[in-house]
């Protein structure tokens, strides 16, 4: 388990960038910057509805890639979960994001941004369930 320190300024700065991106997408394109929907519908969307999604995902890869190249620490990710756990978790996240129509960005940033009670409920539920999952896996089952 990697111990991480409280990093308020970079967290706030990063949050502002995410908010700025969400504002841009709504102001210019009239779209909600919800990542699960943007990437999930890449398989069914056609025409212009496909192109903006592809451009957004490419932009994400380019932004992260640019940072990885320019920053001395790279992306600095710590992945401690085993492959089987990652596969199971990915499947649940995919099922859940489609069934609940949104994820951390779509509900948590954009939906709450629109003061949607639906998104506020979704965010409260998935945050509590995620915290409970971490509690059980780290402190009870000690996975």
């Amino acid at each position: 388990m990697t111990v991480t320190e409280f990093t308020p300024w970079t967290a706030l700065g990063g949050g502002l960038l995410i908010g700025l991106s969400a504002l841009m997408m709504l102001e210019f394109n009239g779209r909600i910057a919800g990542i699960s929907g943007i990437v999930g519908k890449l398989f069914t969307a056609r025409g212009e509805d496909w192109w903006w999604r592809a451009a957004f995902v490419l932009g994400m890869l380019a932004g992260a890639g640019g940072y990885a190249v320019l920053s001395p620490d790279g992306l600095n990710l710590h992945i401690e979960s085993s492959m089987p756990l990652m596969l199971a978790a990915g499947f649940l996240v995919g099922l859940g994001a489609r069934l609940g129509r949104g994820c951390t960005s779509g509900h948590g940033v954009c939906g709450i941004g629109r003061l949607s009670a639906r998104s506020l409920s979704a965010t409260a539920i998935f945050m509590s369930v995620a915290a409970l999952t971490v509690f059980l896996s780290r402190h009870v089952l000690e996975l």
């Binding site: 409280f6 932009g59 380019a62 489609r98 971490v134």
Partner: protein
Amino acid sequence: MWSLLLAFLGGAIFALGLVLSQMADPAKVLNFLDVAGHWDPSLMLVMGGALALTVPGFRLILKQPHPLLDGRFHLPQSAEIDADLVWGSILFGIGWGLVGLCPGPAIVGLVSGAQPIFGFMLTMLIGYRLMDYLQIRRGKA
């Protein structure tokens, strides 16, 4: 053309936000969710920073008749808090809590080349498509 450029730029800024805030790092996310352990509250500020812009900003933007580069706003139609929303959020929360990855950070993480992230992305897309299919069959497309 401009709308595609804006989408690309929006994606890049979003990803930079995830990396700068370290929300792209599963360890950071798990430590945020681990309130009973060595709790790292940083990610509250990520959400706080984003909402500080979207709450007032969306309000102003949605007062316009339409966005600058499109004829209309494409907003979610449903406002109902139904069983699908609750179950979907529960499944999502379990997956998120198991490994500390959600869709945005998973895309960013692909750049690191780490195989487990590619695995997560693959099953995430399979899960999304499977639920899409089931929802269409249930007439809830």
